[in-house]
């Protein structure tokens, strides 16, 4: 079913951790080595979003725009008009939070291969609080025609995803987390834009995660297994285009679906899966994520616990869901 190579150590306490933004930064340098047309722009957050790795390698291909995200992305569009592949980076709260219309008009309608890099996304940004915890970016980017939306699950995948969007010729958004998170994949694991991957096969419920939440689903699946519940775990690093076939097939196998994201469930990844399944294969479904409220200050681990996004919390919700929902459309 899947030849995805999961990190064999992923469920151990000493699992390696790294930052997704760091993986992006390394991937951007590799993309720059592969193609002279790759350029990078940043709005005064160059080290925070790890663009300094590219800047040090290619100082002549780095452009500092200052704290001006509207100009950041529109300048990037002009660079694309001149044949460049620009990566426009800032915090997701401002990019695409501040400059969405410029992204729509000058990148998406224009169909220019500008890469929007949204750093410090989700509640994992921690103590900075609600204003800096971007939770709506998946929703506002996946609604745009022409836009590719990628949410890597770990640092290794972030590096691969960055190289992939550098080469896809399309407007693209990549969402990055700030803090170190467990490595779920290996260097040999596949990454292809538009593909979802089965990380764990199961028969009772499909746990579908994007970004850092896939790790939490693996933890939840282990807890559920101890209770006799056999959960399938599907990793969905590309939200647009969504891998409809893999998602529908998994839903058909298990008859129950749980989605998980470090973002608003409204219009986000859970929304995308709900739209798909309600048209193709109506299936009992619950969405784990931020439940139509804003974030708040706290340490990242505290916030994941507070908002119910840890494997322990998710396992309990899934068990309750299974006990109250029949399995639809199950293939026997």
């Amino acid at each position: 079913m899947s030849d995805y190579l999961i990190n064999p150590n992923v469920l151990n306490d000493d699992v390696a951790q790294d930052t997704i933004r760091g993986g992006f930064g390394r991937g951007l340098k590799v993309a720059g080595e592969a193609n002279d047309n790759v350029v990078a722009l940043c709005a005064d957050l160059t080290e925070s979003v790890q663009v300094h790795i590219f800047r040090e390698a290619f100082p002549d291909r780095f452009i500092q725009t200052g704290i001006a995200e509207q100009n950041l992305v529109a300048v990037a569009s002009g660079l694309a008009l001149a044949g460049k592949i620009p990566f426009a980076a800032s915090y997701a709260a401002f990019n695409p939070g501040r400059n969405w219309e410029q992204i729509k008009t000058t990148v998406a309608i224009n169909d220019q291969p500008v890469k929007i890099v949204g750093g410090h996304a989700g509640i994992g940004v921690g103590p900075d609080g609600a204003t800096h915890q971007m939770l709506e970016d998946i929703a506002i980017m996946r609604v745009l025609p022409n836009m590719v939306v990628v949410v890597p699950g770990d640092a290794i995948e972030a590096e691969k995803a960055t190289r992939a969007i550098a080469e896809n010729g399309k407007p693209s958004y990549i969402r990055l987390a700030r803090v170190k998170t467990p490595i779920i994949s290996t260097d040999q694991s596949p990454f292809e834009i538009g593909k979802a991957y089965i990380l764990r096969e199961g028969s009772d419920v499909s746990l579908m995660g994007t970004g850092v939440m896939t790790y939490q689903l693996l933890v939840a699946a282990k807890i559920l297994a101890e209770q006799g519940i056999n959960a399938e775990v599907v990793h969905v690093p590309t939200i647009k285009p969504l891998d409809n076939d893999t998602i529908v097939a998994s839903a058909k196998r298990t008859g129950r679906v749980v989605t998980a994201e470090e973002a608003q469930i409204t219009g986000g990844f859970g929304g995308a899966v709900a739209e798909l399944l309600s048209e193709k294969l109506p299936t009992p479904l619950i969405r784990i994520g931020i439940q139509d409220r804003f974030g708040e200050s706290g340490e990242p681990a505290e916030l994941f616990d507070h908002f119910g996004l840890t494997g322990v919390h998710i396992a309990k919700k899934v068990a309750d869901f299974i006990n109250t929902s029949a399995q639809y459309h199950r293939e026997y």
Partner: protein, 287 residues
């Protein structure tokens, strides 16, 4: 420049022809922006038939100058100029704003070869022009290519414009030549009532730009200003082109109520008559 070098009077006739095309297009469309398009006819005629280094038969020519409107709502005058230059057949002009047309109500790059960007939402064109100019100056060493854009004066209310002004000033983007169509009107009234822009020259100068104020309905002044701008090699250039909104049609001139409405059949007929009469007034010959 497209085709053979035109004389000044030939350029003036071109501008007057483009104005008549705009009147016919807007009447047929039944919606659109009249005053700015008429006011900018002399700038568009100067650009397409004297200034721009472009090839209508090869719109993606790798050596071309870049030009696009930031104030995309005035695009009928650009479509008229493009058709006259040979980018597409003039018969297509009457499809403006119609279902299935490549001539969208606001310009869309992917719809029509020769359009360099998509615009309409105001304020982001100068940033895009700056991005292209940055590439030519710093990344690709293409010193012979220039990037032109036109903004409306009401557009300058947008904060994004001033982000771009700072950016272009910082990087001394000398291949960037921008126009402001200074016609003093926007939808809700006169610019100085809606949101004052003056001291406009001082604003741009303070951001590090070389600024020229010109009569934007005088084609010789437009060409002179661009030649000066090309000779300024250490700063971006802003040409504040003072134009008469509705230029050439007396009942449209200076009236902000004509910003966003098209002429009806009677008004269009009258406007065409006035523009044809203006054509007979053009007497100047050479530069």
């Amino acid at each position: 420049m497209v085709g053979d070098k035109l004389t000044l009077s030939q350029l003036q006739h071109k501008a007057n022809d483009l104005r008549q095309d705009v009147i016919r297009m807007l009447e047929a469309a039944g919606s659109g922006h009249t005053a700015g398009a008429l006011g900018m006819a002399d700038i568009l005629a100067a650009l397409y038939f004297n200034i721009l280094n472009i090839d209508p038969k090869n719109p993606d020519w790798s050596e071309r100058d870049i030009f696009f409107l930031s104030n995309g709502h005035t695009v009928p005058i650009q479509y008229a100029a493009m058709a006259e230059a040979g980018f597409f057949d003039k018969s297509e002009l009457m499809t403006l704003r119609k279902l299935g047309s490549r001539l969208q109500g606001h310009p869309e790059r992917t719809m029509l070869p020769g359009l360099e960007t998509t615009s309409g939402p105001l304020g982001s064109g100068l940033s895009q022009a700056a991005g292209a100019a940055y590439a030519f100056q710093y990344l690709d060493n293409q010193k012979h290519r220039f990037v032109y854009t036109i903004m409306g004066d009401g557009e300058l209310d947008e904060g994004n414009v001033w982000e771009a002004a700072m950016f272009a000033g910082k990087y001394k983007l000398s291949q960037l030549i921008a126009f402001v169509d200074r016609n003093n009107i926007q939808i809700d009234g006169n610019t100085e009532d809606v949101m004052p822009l003056e001291n406009l020259r001082g604003k741009w100068e303070s951001f590090g730009w070389y600024v020229m104020d010109i009569d934007g309905n005088n084609i010789e002044s437009i060409i002179d200003a661009v030649n000066t701008a090309k000779a300024i090699t250490n700063r971006p250039c802003m040409i504040i082109a003072h134009t008469v909104p509705g230029k050439g049609v007396d009942f449209i001139e200076y009236d902000y109520k004509w910003h966003g409405v098209p002429p009806n059949a009677d008004q269009a007929k009258s406007a065409i008559e006035k523009l044809q009469a203006n054509d007979d007034q053009i007497t100047s010959g050479e530069f």
